[in-house]
């Protein structure tokens, strides 16, 4: 058997073994992989980075626990960046099961920076009917959320005194597995034209690229890779970056497989001629 024939008919267990090694190596040896940051993620980062201390930014934690693995890291990194820059996030959730989860992320990151609820950030909690809630927030946050998650009336929250609707904040990012992203584009951007960015799961990413191209959203963070890019930019040590060595080694291995297999294929075709 010629070398290329051997190569084409390689026992698939060698492939499994190589892939297995590619997954185990990062688990045993820790190494750093530079993350290639995509422009759509960088735009989100730059946007927040360019805000001035005291600016208000809306972060929508609109996912439920099922997509926690991919979207939680984004929430951590973005809130971390906000607090580091003394930007005041307004946080709310449009997902039925998101309220407790959002509270946990927010208070955890806030505690790290010693930020106080009501002064440095505001958590509004959950409201059903995402489309209506978004439209009402465009009128005034007090309409859908007369009080915040902890029961304080919005009017007596210091940082919200002059914040009425999307005009009073610098921008919006919604992290969601899909459903509310669409509402944000149609009812949020479509009516009020505030700068809007989205964080979505990897599977959903393909559906939101068209909006990026048409300019309806200014940035898009997708999947665990997007989260890792964001963490790389903000230098936040989170789950996103942790997963990158595994992803890189396995992707390199699979791409190498494709190249090797094609070399073998062309060599065998030439020898047949």
């Amino acid at each position: 058997m010629k070398w290329h024939e051997k190569m084409l008919n390689i026992d698939r267990r060698w492939i499994y073994l190589i892939l297995g090694v590619a997954v185990i190596v990062p688990a045993v040896v820790s190494f750093h992989v530079p993350v290639n940051v995509t422009p759509e993620v960088r735009r989100v980062y730059d946007f927040i980075e360019d805000l001035k201390p005291g600016d208000i930014f809306y972060v929508g934690i609109d996912y439920d626990p099922a997509s926690l693995a991919e979207l939680h890291p984004m929430a951590y990194a973005i809130l971390d960046q906000c607090f580091r820059k003394d930007i005041k996030p307004v946080v709310a959730t449009l997902s039925q099961f998101g309220a407790g989860m959002a509270e946990q992320v927010l208070s955890e990151v806030a505690a790290e920076y010693g930020k106080e609820s009501g002064i440095d950030y505001c958590y509004l909690g959950y409201k059903p009917y995402p489309a209506i809630t978004i439209m009402l927030m465009g009128v005034d946050f007090r309409v859908p959320f007369p009080q915040d998650y902890y029961g304080t009336p919005i009017d007596s929250i210091p940082m919200m005194r002059y914040v009425h609707n999307f005009d009073d904040l610098k921008g919006v990012i919604s992290l969601s597995a899909g459903t509310s992203s669409e509402f944000w584009i149609i009812y949020g951007y479509g009516r009020y034209f505030m700068p809007l960015a989205l964080g979505v799961t990897g599977v959903m990413a393909a559906d939101y690229y068209p909006y990026l191209q048409s300019g309806q959203i200014f940035g898009l963070i997708s999947g665990i890779k997007g989260a890792a890019e964001y963490e790389a930019l903000t230098e936040y040590k989170g789950e996103g970056l942790k997963s990158i060595p595994y992803q890189t080694t396995t992707h390199v291995v699979i791409l190498a497989f494709i190249i090797v297999s094609n070399i073998g294929y062309f060599a065998s075709r030439r020898s047949k001629k």
Binding site: M135, L136, V139, V143, P144, D155
Partner: protein, 412 residues
């Protein structure tokens, strides 16, 4: 006596101090802030029925307050109140922002909740009274608008679905027309599909090797259309295996599918004149859960050394596990599914794949019966109509004419 005078003096002094305080505190505030002008209420409130529901929803519409965006320009929102009687307790049912002039009042469908009457309930044919007021930016309210009354109706036709109904009727007409045309003996040409042509050959191969055939109907339910398309192919495969006396194994994951698959195979054997060959044991239930099912099927492939594997129906993540295990055993594999996410894996790992619509066309192809080929022709005509509509809609819409676009637009 003196004591009494002192007491009196004390009382008088404290009383005057209190009075003085009262004077300073209460009217003083009024002096500081002059009364704010209240916004005007919205006018012409109209209650109408939502024409497309089952009588639990009304639509409230109004004319904007004259201070909304004009006049005092201090309206922030509108509040909508509802009650079942003009004097009764009014419940705030909704808030809409400034500039908006209608509200859909979706009532709840349960008349009672925990034994108590449910205040959020809206029922068909009951009078509901509505009033509204405007809320100003400073939190003051306008007067209430005039009381109006309206009802929700139980509707019998959904006005937003007319185009879908027409499409269903036209398409059904096409199908019926082509079936009758085919019955009258009109020859229908159909292009070859590699996956279907390979069916016969792959069964022959299994027979030569003396090994069984595996047929997986997917992990959907018995009534999923892709599964039903799978039954037709199974019938064809079973009939051939009866002729060749080859065993066909059908593991299933749903009990109703088990019953249907057994009927399908049994009648195919009867049609082939070999009812004696039929063994119910070969069509068996494994388990409903996706991965345990797949583990069992993979084990089956390896231990029975199946020579040909069919995967026809609805598949999820398991598609590639099955296809790769089949490739290890060296089986010829033919797959077909309408699950977009799994098609790439079937295409990569099986020998032939029926892509989406091809799976549905397969039943016509395999039977070569005019009755079953007619619909394939109807599908093609429907495509021509749809593409024409699409082209017209895109071109006219580019020039700002939305008629054709509205023809294919649906309510969400």
């Amino acid at each position: 006596m003196i004591r009494f005078k002192i007491r009196l003096a004390l009382i008088l002094i404290s009383a005057s101090v209190l009075l003085l305080f009262g004077y300073i505190s209460s009217p003083g505030q009024e002096l500081e802030a002059p009364p704010e002008p209240l916004p005007a209420p919205p006018t012409n409130v109209v209650i109408s029925d939502d024409p497309n529901d089952d009588g639990h929803t009304t639509i409230v519409s109004w004319q904007l307050s004259r201070d909304d965006g004009a006049g005092l320009n201090n309206v922030m929102a509108y509040e909508i109140f509802r009650s079942t009687s003009p004097e009764g307790e009014f419940l705030q049912v909704g808030v809409m922002g400034k500039g908006l002039d209608s509200y859909i009042d979706r009532g709840e469908k349960e008349k009672t909740r925990n034994g108590e009457p449910n205040p959020r309930y809206i029922g068909a044919g009951i009078d509901y009274y509505y009033k509204m007021r405007a809320k100003s930016t400073t939190g003051t309210y306008s007067e209430f608008s005039e009381l109006v009354v309206g009802q929700a109706k139980n509707n019998w036709y959904h006005t937003g679905k007319t185009n879908i109904m027409i499409a269903v009727l036209i398409f059904s007409g096409l199908v019926i027309y082509f079936i009758t045309a085919a019955k009258r003996g009109k020859e229908l040409y159909v292009r070859p599909i590699a996956g279907i042509d390979a069916v016969d050959e792959s069964i022959g191969r299994a027979t030569e090797m003396g090994r069984p055939i595996l047929f997986v109907l997917g992990t959907g339910t018995a009534a999923d259309l892709a599964t039903i398309a799978g039954y037709t192919i199974l019938a064809r495969v079973a009939k051939m295996t009866a002729d060749y006396q080859t065993k066909v194994l059908v593991p299933v994951n749903e009990p109703v599918m088990l019953a249907v698959a057994q009927e399908t195979v049994k009648s195919a054997y009867m049609e082939a004149g070999r009812p004696d060959m039929y063994d119910e044991q070969n069509i068996f239930y494994v388990t409903a859960m996706q991965f345990p099912f797949v583990a069992a099927v993979c084990g089956l492939m390896i231990r029975e050394q199946t020579a040909t594997n069919f995967y026809m129906g609805i598949f999820h993540a398991e598609s590639l596990i099955l296809a790769e295990t089949g490739a290890i055993t060296g089986a010829i594999q033919i797959s077909g599914t309408d699950q977009l996410a799994q098609l790439p894996f079937f295409i990569a790992a099986t020998d032939y794949t029926l892509i989406g619509e091809e799976l549905y066309a397969a039943s016509g192809y395999l039977s070569k019966e005019a009755l079953l080929l007619g619909p394939v022709k109807a599908q093609d005509y429907a495509k021509v109509i749809l593409l024409t509509l699409l082209g017209l809609a895109v071109i006219t819409w580019s020039f700002g004419w939305g008629f054709f676009k509205s023809l294919i637009s649906t309510i969400s």
